[in-house]
């Protein structure tokens, strides 16, 4: 299935497996969940949220290194 992924100004259409959660998605991208807030279809969601076909996922980095 396909989702639209927004990280900062970067927008990508990516293929992901069924039954993936936000946490799985972040893990695949090597992003620490503790450093970001994630929106699904413009609403803030928790890590356990399921990602579904056609979703718009926005990853907002709120904690920076150092």
């Amino acid at each position: 299935m396909q989702i639209k992924l927004v990280i900062g100004e970067k927008v990508d259409l990516i293929e992901i497996n069924n039954n993936n959660t936000v946490k799985d998605l972040l893990k695949n991208m090597d992003i620490a969940p503790e450093t970001v807030v994630v929106k699904k279809n413009n609403c803030i969601v928790i890590d356990e949220e399921l990602v579904e076909d056609g979703d718009l996922i926005e990853v907002i980095q709120v904690i920076y290194g150092g």
Partner: protein, 310 residues
Amino acid sequence: MNSCDKCGNPNIIIKKKQSGQKLCKDCFIKSTQNKVIKDIRKYKLIKKGDKILLGLSGGKDSVMLLDILNSLRKRNIIDIIAVTIDEGIHGYREEGVEIAVRNAKKLGVEHRVVKFKDYFGITLDEIIAKNTLKDGRRNACTYCGVFRRWIFNKVAREEGATKIATGHNLDDETQSIVMSYLEGNIHNLTRIGPKSEIKNKKFTIKIKPLREIPEKEIGLYVIAKELEVHFAGCPYAIESFRGEIKDFIKQLSNEHPTIMYSTLRGFDKIKTILKKEFSNKSIVMECEKCGEPSAAQLCKVCSFLESWKK
């Protein structure tokens, strides 16, 4: 079933690892505001009639602090002057300053932007460009911290502020405790806390109302409230020991989500004894060059500035 523990709303935005509490957007915002106000009362950080100098960088911590303290201003409990320090970090600070200006304007809060260049004749970029680590210069955060404290203290007196409020959060405070301990700097440990003590009438009391709020929750708060915030990392942060400690504590927190709270609670319990045994009893005098309070003939700012003249 994931639903808000307070109102039952199925759209939760946080499941706190440390407590398991689940909250929807509205209940999270309200509970965070209540926690900050409760801490302000608990630690007696603010009293009616205070004029608060609020350090407003435009980042998430200071914007959230402004949002919450403004509720006290609107109820005529306090007055606020927001102060943004422009250290002169090209490509980073400009956007933060613009966002700070817009946040203060939106709330109708008095605001000043003060520059390193105007007070010291030099920007942080120039300091770092002129001196290399090989030549024995300190890391950028050391200069920045010393210069910022000097400016806040001076501007607080210029503006008649009774308190200086900063957006230090739980992560910052835990890092400070661990750093000071690992460096063996027990004197620094005695100065960590929600409220500073003044040893000289030229010092203004510093308060940290967000000291018990985790950094991640501050990020969540500003996004949930749709506040305009400068999300970016300082380019000089990579030089700092604090950065290493931050990564270390973050890593530990993944498996031990209460570790920052326990570090803070444990420290707060031993702080009284630490202060009794290790508090610096040195006399605070006035810097012979700038007149600001100092532990030596020259304050740290003037000492740095003089060393660069040689």
